[in-house]
Subunit: 315 residues, 2 copies
């Protein structure tokens, strides 16, 4: 149920790379045994504000939701809770877990690593994953979710651009010999560069340390399919421990109003907050439906006849 | 003592913008009363893993060191500690407090905001400070410290480049009308852009939320000199709560070795880790001394005769 919930959520928010297109991967993962259908999640270590759990290679959504709930529970008791999970399968977007945290009036920080495709600045060999990190703060209109790969582009984006025959912007990738490339096919064989120069490169490393080194999760360069994620780190911070939530919310409204008003930079139509575009897409798609690509739809038809599930109405 | 300790530490690490050059600002701040010589630090709220403190406008180094020590103490008891400080004066580099955390075998995350000079992408009005954030993990050779402004360049850098008559790289700043500029003088009147596009822009906002919104600290656009920092957030996480520190350290050694070896990208001589260059400079300067600019040295001579303090030997 967590898996389906997250795929729909990602699809609604417009993160099509992490939506319905993943159904096939997950069903085949269960078929091959890569995803453990009946995982026994074990708590390996636990303190009043921290825990380390073993996900037994269960569906990432199931394990990561559990870890997030534990972090929230600890934050309720002590003000902040931090939970790491190892042996976890593909868990989708971090934004999903971030939204659970913000719905509890808490702020969160999340990390995960994945099989190596990127590298820190200067190294011409796949070292780290696209290593996303995520920050979240609650806000009345939509949660302020910053969910970002620490590579210049997410892996699925390169894949889609290759399919379209598009050219990559400079600074996104190097080929396998360490030379700059704008060819998405060479990038698929090569290495993804961090975003934002040495700062993004440093964040890529920090994401690795939180995901794998802190917990003993698998480091990115040792992850190979069907394994997906080396480790997952989530922390929840109870805003009410610092000040009245109502006062926080009022001050945030004012801040958002300020950011949204006033003069714009040349070429901009508005100032967008983290998570704002996704919230708009979700509102639109809740009304109009989630677009599904033909290949995925064909797979849905196979599943439909195999398991006698009726398909949603086409629009 | 914390103040002097930090200035020397920053100077040793090569962060000259936050070293001896600040002595004058601090002494004058005490003279004018902007920095409270005898602050009464009060704990406003406290739980087992969190605290909010009022720094009474004492020297930032004093207040932030206190907050860092509290976070470490809480992390020792519960696994993680998070402390926010408001009413805090200029606190120098976050790297200084990060090093205290890593010396206790803990990982840390730190944020602070400052008077508005930057803005999120799209807004052509000063909104947020250079809003640095800092991550740290302990490592046997030197702490892995990523201490970075979320603007493309730190404010002092623009100031120094203006003095030198240098040209700014594109993407660092816009003028006060919101048009791109490479003139450091226009940038000083204008707005600093976030690093790394919308990702850096999002991190700039998150830094603001941790520094001011969580704690009720002053938001960047309300800070005006002589106030320096709106708020300070520090968290310490006890690595030993997740796995044996020895195992962490061994795995990190291997990771560092891997990152440092193997093929290099075109144009690179080595892969540098966060904090590595600063650690090298510190080793060099511990031997050879800290360079001091002439203006600062002249000020030292005035102080020397006024307070009968002998000056260090020139090299």
């Amino acid at each position: 149920v967590e898996v389906a919930g997250q795929l729909v959520s990602s699809g609604l928010r417009g993160t099509d790379t992490h939506g319905t297109v993943l159904v096939r991967r997950y069903i085949e993962g269960i078929g091959s045994g890569a995803i453990n259908k009946a995982p026994k999640i074990r708590v390996l270590r636990q303190g009043s504000s921290t825990a380390l759990i073993d996900g037994d290679f269960g569906a990432g959504q199931f394990v990561a939701t559990k870890a997030t709930q534990m972090a929230i529970g600890k934050a309720r008791k002590t003000g902040i809770g931090a939970v790491s999970a190892i042996k976890v399968q593909h868990l989708g977007t971090l934004a999903y877990y971030a939204a659970i945290i913000s719905s509890r009036r808490m702020a969160g920080i999340l990390f995960t690593n994945s099989s190596a495709w990127g590298a820190p600045l200067g190294r011409a060999k796949r070292t780290f994953g696209t290593n996303p990190l995520c920050f979240v703060f609650p806000h009345k209109e939509f949660p302020l979710i910053l969910d970002m790969a620490t590579t210049a582009a997410a892996g699925m984006k390169i894949f889609l651009m290759s399919k379209e025959g598009a050219t990559l912007p400079e600074g996104w990738a190097i080929d396998k010999e360490g030379r700059p490339t704008t060819d998405p096919n060479e990038a698929q064989e090569g290495i993804l560069l961090p975003f934002g120069g040495h700062k993004g490169s440093g964040l890529m490393l920090m994401t690795e340390l939180y995901s794998a080194l802190l917990s003993g999760g698998m480091v990115s360069y040792k992850i190979s399919p069907p394994d997906a994620q080396g480790g997952f780190y989530v922390q929840a911070l109870d805003i009410g421990r610092f000040r009245k939530y109502r006062t926080y919310a009022r001050d945030l409204d004012r801040l958002v109003e300020t950011v949204k008003s006033g003069p714009l930079t040349e070429g901009y139509k508005e100032v967008l907050l983290p998570g704002e575009l996704e919230a708009r897409t979700a509102a639109e798609r809740t009304r109009a439906g989630i677009p599904v690509d033909m290949e995925t739809w064909d797979y849905f038809e196979i599943l439909s006849s195999k398991y006698h599930i009726s398909l949603p109405r086409l629009i």
